[in-house]
């Protein structure tokens, strides 16, 4: 197995998660908010695979199985999320997330 420093893997995962969270919190376009969520899920998967290297034998496979299920859940999330984006966008004809603050007013 190629010996990549696990700390570097975790550092990369943390950086990607941070950038994804920045996209979610800072951007106003709802498509980019959704894509930020996808980026955060990817970072967590990378962290799982990085940590799985520290378990012995067959246990190390469990950390590599979890991302498979996470990816399937992410597919369902993207499916419903995009349908909701279609739904709310048709009514207002904009993709600016500030336009959907109806509950505040």
């Amino acid at each position: 197995m190629t010996a990549i420093d696990p700390f570097h893997v975790q550092l990369l995962a943390a950086l990607l998660f941070t950038l994804g969270l920045m996209v979610v919190l800072a951007r106003r376009n709802i498509f980019l908010v959704l894509m930020g969520v996808e980026l955060m899920l990817n970072a967590v998967n990378l962290s799982f695979v990085g940590f799985s290297q520290q378990l012995p034998g067959a246990q190390s496979l469990w950390g590599q199985l979890t991302p498979l299920f996470t990816i399937a859940i992410a597919a369902a999330e993207a499916c419903v999320g995009l349908a909701m984006v279609i739904c709310i966008t048709r009514g207002k004809d904009t993709v600016d997330s500030d336009a959907f603050a109806d509950m505040k007013e």
């Binding site: 950038l19 496979l61 990816i71 419903v80 993709v95």
Partner: protein, 200 residues
């Protein structure tokens, strides 16, 4: 020493993939149009699949490309283009609260990195590679998992199948009701779905 060469090449590849992933993430954060952001996100996912292969999980890398870069991002790009108003790039990228949203994750990052730094992370030499020959028995052959006395991952697998079916039905219902509610001529939206309206 072949081991040293292997180690060096692996490190160089990891650095390249990590740099590509970080640059594409920054591009996603700063992108002007959502389609540009989608292309950047595909770049991130391809880089991460390369890192999976380097870490000894080639099967996961293949699934990452197939499902994420292939299916999910195709869906995202498709919906962006269906709803593609020319005004997409007229939505301002940031507002005055964005500076908070961009700075607070940095505090989270600092805390996580500090916690990671304090923790020794030894690589177990007996860790298995996650290729298909190892993943498939771990998922479906219970006798191959010593010390694992549960019911395997059959139930989870089936539940995720049902969840995906429910998600697809929900997406169809959400989008269909919206199509009917905008039957009145509404400009570009109605034209973009002219073919679908013909079916009603």
């Amino acid at each position: 020493m072949p081991e040293n060469i292997d180690h060096l090449i692996g490190t160089v590849y990891f650095g390249l993939f990590a740099l590509a992933a970080l640059l594409c993430s920054a591009g996603l954060l700063m992108s002007r149009h959502p389609l540009n952001g989608a292309v950047y996100l595909i770049g991130v996912m391809l880089s991460i699949s390369g890192i999976y292969a380097l870490l000894g999980s080639p099967f996961l890398g293949v699934i990452q490309i197939l499902v994420y870069a292939g299916a999910i991002m195709m869906l995202v790009v498709f919906v962006i283009m269906v709803l593609n108003q020319a005004q997409d790039h007229r939505v301002p990228r940031f507002d005055r609260y964005s500076i908070l949203g961009a700075l607070m994750p940095l505090a989270l990052l600092a805390a996580v990195v500090q916690a990671l730094h304090a923790q020794p992370m030894p690589v177990d030499p007996h860790a298995l590679r996650g290729d298909i020959a190892a993943i498939a028995p771990a998922m479906f052959d219970l006798s191959a998992m010593p010390g694992h006395d549960g019911h395997g991952y059959y139930l989870l697998f089936e539940l995720i199948g049902v969840l995906l079916l429910v998600a697809v039905v929900a997406a169809v219902m959400l989008a269909k009701r919206t199509l009917e509610s905008t039957e009145t001529p509404g400009g570009a939206m109605a034209e973009a779905h002219g073919a679908t309206h013909d079916g009603h």
